[in-house]
């Protein structure tokens, strides 16, 4: 847990952060809006004070109410991982600028996020489906895409009826739409 990182981030990006900086174990998390993303990322990448050169992960998250894109970065200057959460993306039309200008290797990671969530990365030259067939129309990892046995719960919370997978979702009452607090 790097306290100095927190103070530095607060000092530099305080205006653009949309939430408190959280730190847990060896991770530091900052939250931004989609519009500020490129600016902040450029500073984090290019500025020799920060030097976050390794993009470790690019993930999409569907919190149930909104969509987020989560980036993990590594720098030699701090012992923590930096997690940048770009949240506030509306579920109907999630758009976010693409990171391929800074990290061309983010292209496929953004394709995967688009494929699974439907988040449009503006500026990505190749935003097409990567796992699903090209004419697929749904986004599998969204929370309203139910697997047939989504109605079943684990033994801790209910009864698992894997054999009910042929039953259409409307017939099952125990489907719980999951959400998580930002």
């Amino acid at each position: 847990m790097d306290r100095s990182l927190r103070t530095r981030l607060d000092a530099r990006f305080g205006a653009q952060l949309t939430g408190p900086i959280r730190q847990r174990h060896d991770e530091t998390e900052i939250r931004l809006g989609a519009g500020d993303l490129i600016e902040v990322m450029t500073v984090l990448h290019d500025d020799p004070d920060w030097e976050f050169v390794v993009l470790a992960d690019l993930a999409g998250v569907d919190t149930g109410e909104q969509m987020q894109v989560v980036y993990h970065l590594w720098s030699a200057r701090t012992p923590d991982w930096l997690r940048v959460v770009a949240d506030g993306l509306p579920r109907e039309d999630p758009r976010i600028p693409s990171l391929t200008g800074l990290w061309p290797g983010a292209e496929w990671m953004e394709r995967e996020t688009y494929d699974m969530f439907g988040i449009i990365f503006e500026g990505n030259r190749d935003l097409r489906r990567i796992y699903m067939p090209p004419d697929y129309t749904s986004f599998p990892l969204r929370k309203d895409f139910y697997l047939p046995d989504d109605a079943a719960r684990s033994p801790g919370g209910g009864v698992r009826h894997v054999e009910r997978s042929h039953v259409p979702v409307q017939a099952t009452e125990r489907v719980v739409r999951r959400t998580v607090k930002a």
Binding site: H25, A56, H72, P104, G105, Y131, S154, G156, V169
Partner: protein, 412 residues
Amino acid sequence: MTEQSNHRPHLSSDDPRIMLDGEIGQFENVPPYPPRTEREAEFYTLADGEMFLNMGPQHPSTHGVLRVVLKINGEQVVDLDPVLGYLHRGVEKLCENSDYHHIISQVDPLEYVSSLFMEWAPVMAFEKLLDVQVPRRAEYIRVLTGELLRVSSHALYQGWMALDLGGLAPILYSFIERDEIVEMLAAITGQRMLFNYFRIGGVNGDLNHEFMSRLGDWMSRALKMHETNIALLNENEIFVRRMRGIGKVDKDTALRMAVTGPNLRAAGVPFDVRRAHPYSVYPELEFDIPVRGANGGGDSLDRYLLRLDEVRESIRIIDQCLHNMPDGPVMARLPRLLRPRPGRAWAAVEAPRGLYGTYAISDGTDQPFRMKIHDPSFVNMQLVGMLMKGNLIADTMAVMASIDPVMGGIDK
């Protein structure tokens, strides 16, 4: 449920519903629908003298089911587009519907060649969510088995590399090495391939006598076998000539392509998660990070040689683990039903192919809310398209093999 897509009739020769009776004699554009992105337009328009060659999902040497569409001009590859998804199993979605314990066996088949690493990062992430302290003996066992598997994976890499270049013998020697290690691990885990050994809070069982005796046997000849395997190929002029100078990646490009692992280290960047962001008991162990291609960048030969160097370092680590192994429990005491507090955790390990990370979000129930898996081969595959421009078809295989992809991880 999912809305069914309305099937537009199209003349793609890949579509099994279409019988090409009348329209034979022309090679259709791939894909048949108008290109939707810039890159698609760039790739799928043919200039004069070019043609598409499809190294289809069934192919003797695309490391799994991978389809690579090559745009060739004679023997020279002008552009390359890998098409993924043939092995997509929806692991992340399945993980959202599984218990925390069940995820360990679900996550094994990503990079089935080195499956203990695939378990390691999720287990670490969950331990962070649960604030669990893993006993030291368990950590040492994790490192020991992990490094053994790294040796096995790199030995297999050597064999694949030779096989893709046409040499039929080295892969069998690689499999001898892999077989010994896998038998060792089968003695403690009960499995030869998808080990399902790590648990949240430790490992599934302590080391036993059979494992120790096999390990002792193996350690006594490990370095010598390694030298023999090296001697099989390194001196071979044909082999070296086909790898030298092919697929050169320099430092900056590699970092910008988000490449990690031996591919990054062979490009000159000394980034290894075990030293950059130490986890488990790696801070106590003495080992070096081999780096190649520090000036100018690394080619396929550097990537190959680097993995051989890493095997030596892994053997060193195994030796130290054996000597410093503490006593104690191998599993922390945890309830059967795990319900971590709502929160988020990220954990990354150094898999044989690169940085393998898991981002887990918990919503307080016994199933994770979101589990994102960052697979190194997925990101490394982007290098192939970049490196292949201007090389020959035969080099496609060589470059792809030198990057060491495993389709299970790429397709999740």
